[in-house]
Amino acid sequence: MLLIPCPWCGPRAQIEFTYGGDADVRRPKDAMAATGAAWHDYVYLRDNPRGSHDEIWQHSAGCRRWLRLTRDTLTHAIIDSAPPTKEPPS
């Protein structure tokens, strides 16, 4: 069980949150031109890092806002919790 710091509500139990996946997966920009391999990569393939990992979570049972969480997958330590950036990184 993680204790996740919501940027607004403060530390809350993991059961209040919904996992939204890897924060840095990007949809292919030109959907028509993207190759099957690029789509396969976007839809199915994820890194599985040992250590720091950027993730998005939703405080679904609380303020219902999305947040960006940096978490150590080895120690389960929470490194950073912040509101999502306004613009997706290019």
């Binding site: 607004w8 403060g10 139990a13 049972a61 609380g62 303020c63 219902r64 806002r65």
Partner: protein, 196 residues
């Protein structure tokens, strides 16, 4: 606006009297309240100012409520509040008229929630059985209104002044489940069910 339908209670509790003096937990089904959800997520400063001009100061700190007489404003999310029982001060019509041009949403949630009050000396123990919140007064002070989970139900908890316990704002269709859970989980504290 369409004509409002009369509010029917989601459950009809069976009153348990005669044990209140020894009961550690007193459950009460509260009368239906008017709940308006105000939402201005992009820029809520003008919204807060306009309501302040009307005499209603909205709480800016997370998970804290503001009380004006019988009416309460709950912070529920950034740029989002619930106004509960503001009828005497301000109606939905006047709020809509006062704040016409700004990007915001006003939704009447009155029919969607059932309000239950948990009082008594062991109210905190009962809530702690099914809720992951830190219930210590330093983390969850009087007037606090965090949303969380109780017995698997997403709800809003409002801590009442003078150690009077909590008001639970329960999604209506979960009311029966939660009411029964409260009685089962609270049996060890001796429960009294008071008239609403």
């Amino acid at each position: 606006m369409p004509e409002a339908l009369p509010r029917e209670p989601a459950i009809r509790p069976v009153q348990k009297v005669g044990t209140a003096s020894t009961a550690g937990v007193v459950l009460t089904l509260r009368p239906a309240a008017t709940i308006l959800r105000l939402c201005a997520p992009l820029d809520h400063a003008p919204f807060v100012a306009a309501l302040a001009a009307a005499g209603l100061s909205l709480p800016e700190d997370p998970c804290i409520s503001e009380q004006w007489g019988d009416a309460t404003a709950f912070w529920v999310a950034p740029g989002e509040w619930w106004l509960v029982d503001i009828g005497a001060t301000l109606t939905e019509t006047t709020i809509r008229a006062d704040l016409p041009a700004r990007p915001r949403a006003i939704v009447d949630l009155s029919h969607s929630r059932t309000i239950m009050r948990i009082g008594g000396s062991q109210a905190v123990d009962l809530v702690a059985k099914g809720c992951p919140l830190d219930l210590d007064p330093t983390a969850f002070p009087t007037g606090g209104c965090p949303q969380s989970v109780l017995a698997g139900v997403n709800l809003l908890l409002h801590r009442l002044p003078a150690n009077a316990g909590f008001d639970l704002y329960v999604p209506r269709s979960y009311a029966r489940h939660l009411w029964e859970w409260l009685q089962l989980a609270g049996a060890e504290y001796r429960i009294s069910v008071a008239a609403g």
